[in-house]
Amino acid sequence: MTYTGNANWFQNSLTEHFLAFVFSQKGYFFLTRVMQTWSLVSICVLLGVVVRWGVSLNSYSGAQKPPMFGDYEAQRHWQEVTYNLPVQEWYFNNTDNDLNYWGLDYPPLTAYHSWICAYIAKIINPEWVELHRSRGYESPAHKLFMRTTVLVADVLIYIPAVVLYCLYLADGSSKKKVSTLFCFLLYPGLILIDHGHFQYNGVSLGFALWGVLALGLGWDALGSMAFSLALNYKQMELYHALPFFCYLLGKCVKDGLMGRGLFLLVRIAATVLATFALCWLPFLSDPSQALQVVRRIFPVGRGLFEDKVANTWCSLNTLIKIRSILSGDFQLYLSFALTILAVLPSSIRLLTKPTFWNFKLALVNSSLAFFLFSYQVHEKSILLVALPICLLLNDLPFTSAWFLQASTFSMLPLFLKDGLLVPYAVTSAAFLLLSICLLSVLDHCSEEEMELCTYKKLLFCHPKMDLACIVRWKFYISIAAMAGLSILSVALEPPRHLPDLFPVLVSTIAFLHFLGTFIHFNILQFSKLPSRKRQKKNN
């Protein structure tokens, strides 16, 4: 038999086998099951898209609020700047580029994204991106355009990553996967910030998620590339950087730094360097250019915190006025030191035991540590913590759903300022409903499933004490408190001498939740008693 004949024969028999499989009873059921899963997935995705679009029909940040407007105008302004000015002037202050009016302060990938959007805007209506004259431009058509750009970015980057993650890296029956996917896609915080308030967090979080996905599937170089893209879109992705670094390094070390590990390490390093170089290409010709970009991205002069953030500094501020006691530089060093101290345990643990499970936990711990202790944190940065928590929706439904609820709640003052009360109430209530029904969180809070056994050992509790019951009651009380405070801050005028009463209360309550989560997940990472399920996965 000739070679081609052989190949033909092989092909034919393959086709035959395939057809036989399809037409057999078993194959038919298999195919229908796959089709059913995919049609359920597509329903979830469509619903996710419609909900995003429904939220985006509402107001955005800074709508009709001259002279500074809000994040919507910032994004539009970047389109204007990137379209009309040469690359070299994007990050510099000059007559055409007033950096005090929403100057670019995100890494180059954001700028390129704005530039692409600006090209499309120019085709539709040149007025939208006209230099100087388009400042504060608002119109229904323009709103539609801007909203569409966010949705397109979400559909292209974030949603596919979520779908693939839930289908391939979450375990359980296909129904459980779809439920997780549903909740993941409908997490209210991200929807409200991106499609209500107006930002492009879906892009950076989506890239980070692609990174996690690739690492989970074992494609380390691709994963590090995706994560580098995320870093180059928003510098806040640094919150996730240490776990990525430690996981990859730990893996290389495990493979032996003298042999395969070294090869892997070099490959990853080369990928990261190449990605960075590509992203920064226009700014590399002149060192002053690159330095200016870095200076814009890390504005150390803006103070320890702004507004009311649910982190340590702002919460401490209600007791001690830190900002007046400590000097600016000292604040910076203090927050830096504390952040490092808080990240270190989980990172070292990950370095020594680089499993995917540990990686996910370390992502939570690192981003929460950054959120709680680092310098210049925005309330929206909680989304960076919410993403890794979403990854754990399948494994720890109760804790994750609780945290996600609290994280949405922590941004309440922002939503009220933007006129997003109705979408906030609707999506939060829907998420609570979904997590209770689909993930059946309340059935999943036995001691074993929440990994509470460690606590028993730590606290020398009486063995008969039902920790799970206590935790469940805490959950009820916390939900009631969040709902109650939401209603109060809408319905009541704060007393005259305490105008910030409700935002402070919101941020303090949220802070308590976050701190609790931080401690809990750190303990989880160090607990030596992985349940049977997890052992199986690690093998």
Binding site: Q36, S39, I43, L46, W53
Partner: protein, 521 residues
């Protein structure tokens, strides 16, 4: 909890989820129907009953039956706590954020009737085998098909109307018949008739069914009617219920001598054969045939262009028009055609009643028959068929096929209702969601016996995708946009009317088949 023990734990979360979802679209596009209902709120709130049907400050005069006016009156009592200004008759086109919020929430809250009705209907579904998987439960599938119904959602919560509330009454009355609570069913239906008179379309089915199945208590052995078993008492009770509801509703106006005025508002025959956008029925095909003949005639020089009556039938403004080649249609003709089309169905349940399910099929045929042949039919009226058909679809294979065909076509024909760019995505996604779900769930329910649709039907439905892309994407970008602005509407209604007509025939065929089956014991 009692609810959880009998496997209904999914219902409340499902209903709550749907209601929350509806709240997302409070700020979406709304049609003039929003102003219509605001005006009615104002009329019923600030004017005495005697001038409700005389008031004409706004062009949107009250043209629903009296019970609906009372319903608006009740709503207005709540509305005054939101914003008093919306209750002033002269405040035309008033839409403050509070007004929008109140009106939208009123639709969402009155949908509770619908939710309750869906639950009652789902209880009546026959279950062949008990299954653990939720997608295998017909009651679950039916609830989703009804609660997430694309058409109802679009018409009520974006376009703005109170159909959910009204369909709640219809489905509840159907459920009562399925549960053999005929008197309650009759009561609910007579209330419904006095809320919105469009339900007159299905009244023949109710009349004949109640007379035949309820007033005659027993059949002769061979299935024909047993004249001796006629129960006068039952007829009197039934009549009493219907008459008392009508007295409550129309009585006051009868006393005030306003009945002719009310009737002239309810039945405005001055409108044209077709609505501005042709509903996908037989007249759409008739109109297009006329157009084609005109074009052909002019081309072949059989007709003089100057002699033809000038009327743009799709112009939107012209409501009355004449056909050029084919004879023009008068209201009497449509009435005759409608009666003729529903006659076989009605006769069939008179001669051979097949219980409440036979009645439901007859109701569907009446609704679809009047949709097909009626005078000035709105495209929204197709919901009158799609919603009740869902009940049959989860029970029988044949009906599932008809349902898939009709619901997809009928729902697509609602697309022109939402014509603003921001709502394009919503309608497309929701439609895809509903269609995907109905195909997946119904195929799963009726699995193992081949496909639900014939190849030609699948091909036709795929054609809808092409039509959608052509009308929604390609056409707005093409140079014809300004020359022939109504071309997409025309294409949509003609293409959809083919599917609707076909479904009508298939529905009749299924009735005829079950007739044959009943004859051969």
């Amino acid at each position: 909890m009692a609810v959880q023990s009998d496997g209904w734990s999914w219902f409340l979360p499902l209903a709550a989820g749907v209601s929350l979802f509806k709240c997302l679209f409070i700020n979406a596009y709304r049609s003039t129907d929003f102003e219509v209902h605001r005006n009615w709120l104002a009329i019923t709130h600030s004017l005495p009953v005697s001038s409700w049907y005389h008031e004409n400050t706004s062009e949107w005069t009250l043209d629903y039956p009296p019970l609906f006016a009372w319903f608006e009156f009740g709503l207005s009592k709540v509305a005054q706590h939101f914003d008093k200004n919306m209750l002033l008759v002269e405040n035309l086109n008033y839409a403050s954020p509070e007004t929008v919020m109140f009106q939208r929430l009123s639709v969402i809250f009155t949908d509770l009737v619908f939710i309750f009705a869906v639950r009652e209907c789902s209880r009546c579904v026959q279950v062949q085998k008990v299954s653990r998987d939720i997608l295998d439960q017909p009651s679950f599938v039916l609830s989703v098909l009804l609660l997430w119904n694309f058409g109802l959602f679009v018409v009520d919560h974006i376009h703005f109307q109170y159909n959910g509330f009204l369909f709640g009454f219809l489905l509840l009355s159907v459920a009562k018949h399925l549960q053999s609570e005929h008197l309650q069913g009759a009561l609910l239906f007579s209330i419904l008739l006095n809320l919105k008179h469009i339900y007159l379309y299905v009244a023949p089915a109710y009349g004949v069914y109640l007379l035949r199945d309820y007033c005659f208590t027993r059949d002769v052995k061979d299935g024909s009617i047993g004249w001796r078993s006629f129960s006068l008492l039952r007829l009197l009770v039934l009549g009493g219920i219907v008459v008392s509801v009508f007295t409550l509703s129309v009585g006051p106006f009868l006393v005030m001598g306003q009945l002719p005025q009310v009737l002239s508002r309810l039945f405005p025959f001055k409108r044209g054969l077709c609505h501005a956008y042709w509903a996908p029925n037989i007249w759409a095909l008739y109109n297009i045939l006329d157009k084609v003949l005109v074009v052909l005639g002019v081309r072949l020089k059989l007709l003089q262009e100057a002699e033809l009556p000038r009327a743009s039938m799709t112009g939107g403004l012209v409501q009355e028009f004449q056909h050029s080649v084919l004879p023009s249609i008068s209201p009497a003709t449509t009435l005759f055609c409608t009666l003729l089309s529903i006659l076989p169905a009605v006769v069939s349940i008179w001669r051979r009643p097949r219980g409440a399910r036979g009645f439901l099929r007859c109701l569907l045929l009446c609704a679809l028959g009047s949709f097909m042949f009626g005078w000035h039919v709105h495209e929204k009226a197709v919901l009158l068929v799609i919603l009740p058909l869902s009940i049959l679809a989860v029970e029988s294979r044949e009906d599932a096929g008809i349902f898939l065909l009709l619901s997809t076509t009928g729902h697509y024909s609602l697309f022109p209702l939402l014509h603003t760019p921001a709502e394009l995505l919503i309608k497309v996604c929701l439609m895809l969601m509903f269609t995907t779900f109905s195909f997946t769930a119904l195929r799963r329910l009726h699995r193992g016996k081949g496909s639900l649709l014939r190849p030609l039907e699948v091909f036709y439905l795929l054609g809808l995708v092409a039509v959608a892309i052509a009308c929604e994407v390609v056409f707005p970008l093409s140079p014809w946009k300004h020359r022939l602005p109504f071309l997409p509407l025309l294409v949509t209604s003609v293409y959809c009317s083919v599917g609707v007509c076909y479904s009508f025939l298939r529905l009749y065929l299924s009735l005829w088949r079950s007739d044959c089956k009943a004859k051969q014991p």
